[in-house]
Symmetry: C2
Subunit: 515 residues, 2 copies
């Protein structure tokens, strides 16, 4: 590389170029190019001469995971994946971006929240908005007509972030879906069982899962006298019932959306209903509801669903709730949403209004940690022959779960490594002996480390163990080396024993194997 003084001179010159361009109000592109050159010159000098050039942050609505947060995330994913595997799921992965046209027309109003990539020549691309549309594209592309799969990956929405409540622009979804022509409601019931297992195992306290059916909603709107062309907009108002009181929802229907007061009141009566199989049976006999073929189809399936939920031992967690109306366009049958807290708990107060914030209709509401439903038409949209593949699935919203568990863990000590032994030395000039021993341990598959200093103090080695939760220390000293021994110290008790080098691995295994 060029001589240091010369590089410094070049930096000075290039700095002038940049200042001049800025003074001339040159185009941003032009300035960027010259700034880049300047930074490269500075890089050659190494860190010392570089001044702060950057806003040191992650993009809006995103975050890093530090090791402690990763340890929590790993635990949550393990629980979720174990459950998915227990139910016989395979897994797939898809690219983080799709052709823009693949996402077009799938998300209704929420399409405005899609991240597009810059047109740099070639295809127009967008970041995936969920894992469901890529899954449907995958099925159609590979002509797969039945599969049980899970997919855990990040999705992207240019939504207004509320990071303290676990709402991000980049966030994980953990999706489980069943595709195929099967007898009604069996896969749908298994999805609910899965949500129930996962939320139970994650130990988040009480929870309940609301279920409804798009056909019941549509039938209800029809018998309440909602004009056909208002179904979707009224449906999205009903969807706000978890955040707004009925009066406000009614107001929106009548004043903003022009629904008759009578129709709104009738809807109000239905959407206050909650129950189980009994409610489905009652509504099948309801003089108004029973007039809608769609509603009846939905209600008979709901009855059937609850009979399977009984066998799956989860009826205590599931509530048939006519106010549930998930926003996404692609649902065609059963829909569900899981909330923390006991069933029937009063909804929390509405969040403060966020000026100009586009609200993703489908984004999880306060307390909501999973959602899903049946979407029988989506795969057919991608299939060249329009061949339909019925699908039902559920998505676990882990970010909120991470937030809760991270808050819980704030005071706790969470181990972020799995090191079993630190190889330490009690005297100077034993680096080589430490490296020799740690190599023996690695060869035996033991998780071990040694400090990267030639002559670390014993105290600082022991402190490192306390801080990282390493349970054992193998201490080398000249005496030990002469006798072919190692001092094995248990960090928690400070107890030390002399172990012969030949028995060391066995002894470490014995002391660190899970009870």
């Amino acid at each position: 590389m060029a001589d240091r003084a010369e590089t410094q001179e070049a930096i000075k010159v290039q700095g002038e170029v940049v200042r001049k361009l800025k003074a001339e109000k040159a185009s941003k592109d032009q300035i960027d190019v010259e700034v880049a050159k300047l930074l490269e010159l500075k890089l050659r000098l190494g860190g010392d001469d570089v001044k702060h050039q950057f806003v040191l942050k992650t993009p809006k609505g995103t975050r890093d995971y530090n090791p402690k947060q990763m340890a929590i995330r790993e635990k949550v994913f393990n629980t979720i994946v174990s459950c998915f595997k227990r139910h016989g799921a395979e897994t797939i992965d898809t690219p983080v971006f799709e052709l823009k046209e693949t996402l077009t027309g799938k998300y209704g109003e929420d399409s405005k929240l899609i991240y597009d990539l810059k047109d740099q020549g070639g295809e127009l691309l967008s970041l995936r908005y969920d894992l469901t549309v890529p899954f449907a594209r995958f099925l159609a592309m590979n002509k797969i007509s039945n599969i049980k799969r899970y997919h855990i990956a990040k999705v992207y929405r240019r939504d207004n972030p509320a990071m303290t409540r676990g709402r991000y622009r980049e966030f994980y979804q953990c999706d489980f879906d069943i595709a195929g022509h099967y007898d009604p409601m069996i896969p749908d019931a298994e999805c609910l069982r899965i949500v129930s297992e996962i939320l139970g195992e994650l130990d988040l306290g009480d929870f309940h899962i609301k279920v409804n059916d798009r056909r019941i909603l549509d039938g209800m709107f029809a018998v309440c006298g909602v004009p056909d062309d208002k179904f979707r907009t009224i449906c999205s108002t009903v969807d706000k019932l978890d955040k707004m009181c009925w009066e406000d929802v009614k107001n929106e229907m009548v004043k903003e959306k022009g629904l008759s007061e009578e129709a709104a009141d009738m809807i109000g009566q239905y959407v206050s209903m909650q129950g189980g199989m009994d409610l489905a049976v009652r509504l099948l006999e309801d003089p108004k509801m029973s007039q809608s073929k769609q509603a009846c189809a939905g209600l008979s399936d709901m009855k059937q669903l609850f009979s399977y939920l009984e066998l799956f031992q989860v009826t205590d967690k599931v509530v048939f709730d006519l106010s549930l109306a998930r926003g996404l366009d692609y649902y065609t049958g059963v829909i569900y949403e899981a909330m923390l807290g006991p069933a029937g708990a009063t909804p929390p107060p509405p969040p403060p209004p966020q000026a100009g914030a586009p609200k993703a209709e489908e984004s999880l509401s306060v307390g909501s940690v999973a959602g899903g439903g049946r979407y029988d038409g989506l795969v057919g949209m991608f299939d060249p022959k329009g061949r339909a593949v019925p699908c039902v699935g559920v998505s676990i919203g882990v970010e909120r779960i991470f937030s809760i568990l991270e808050q819980k863990a704030e005071a706790e000590k969470v181990r972020t490594t799995e090191v079993q032994v630190l190889v330490a030395s009690a005297q100077k000039n034993l680096l080589e002996e430490r490296l020799r021993l740690v190599t023996e341990l690695w060869n035996a598959g033991i998780k071990a480390e040694s400090m990267f200093k030639k002559n670390p103090k014993l105290l600082s080695q022991l402190q490192h163990c306390e801080e990282s939760g390493i349970p054992l220390v193998a201490i080398l000293g000249e005496q030990e080396l002469k006798n072919g021994m190692v001092k094995l110290r248990t960090v928690a008790t400070r107890e030390e024993v002399d172990v012969s080098r030949a028995d060391l691995i066995e002894e470490i295994r014995k002391r660190t194997s899970p009870v």
Copy 2:
């Protein structure tokens, strides 16, 4: 939702709108908006009426992973993560995109390969190009001055893909880095030990790791008479030696880059040298090399490195090779690259020229499966006070490894689920009994499934087990139900035993626990 006939009518009308706009050659945006409305209408009808609207593909240079490929990927990641954990690493994660300015000026010429996001208002963002720059940003932002961390995630490069050889635009990197002020070459040696462990455990056949040092390269260029301002361009020509013969490399130096023939020949002598500690010792006494302070510093460290590699038992895998010259700007000391095949093997023939293809300087060459080095200046570029944090690390290029293992597995049967038992029925009308039993098994933590049909044929249930590699079938029949028994069938041997319902779980555990 609206009546089917009405939706069909609306589709007709909307179709006309789109056709009219296209005929009028309206703006693409305007047409897109109306096409989106059309697609949404079609979505309401479900799949049957939708014609093929899309190019069914993933974006250029990307791919899906099907379940079999995921099973292989999971195995590779498990091997790699186990090794990282055995060496005491923590893990972190960062967003898939960074502020554009975070990536500016870090990749030299390769910056043109960065994917930018569209400016949709707000910050300018780019997809990460590697995991090293986000790591440096993370360290500076959180004022972390020492850490041993791994990070496994996808990175993005608008490079010319060569997917059969495992070169993609979206691909995984598995990075392990050690940051902190330590005694020289101890962490550097551990990185090499880690690469060696991983490549050995992945069972990819013979491999070797080339090492060199940026300071040795620079010193060599200086003593060979390369002008200061040509160091980098000559270095990037030397980097091509793994794909081009020496004559072509020399030609490029002399004819394209204007180096004197004499200087080129001198470089030619040095870059043909390969060895171990002996070579470092010899070059320290080389009359020319020893004139460069930089080269001497690099060579003494190389000597030291090999002494640690000896203790780590990996000298048989590591070759000091003066032709290794990795392209990335940020390296400041040791650099390395691991290749499949024995050391000193003749390089494969050059790939066919790709017209207009930008070639990422750092992209792994044919046979190369890992690379890395020391970058002591990068964190300082982000730190407000320019405070330096020395780092060294390695990146495993798993895509090529996936390609190799996928090819190996082509003929093999790879299980993509972990189901231990299928709950089956031998007669009709036993759906409820099957669901009851599969629930018992799930409750006991056993991986089980049952078919989603009311009355599946026994044969098709058994076939499903054969296809998915499920080892056991629990068969229910009326007789068994009456006697409180289950017939447990071992798929491989077709042997069947009657087990009492109370002993079933124990029996399944016994038969499926790993030996």
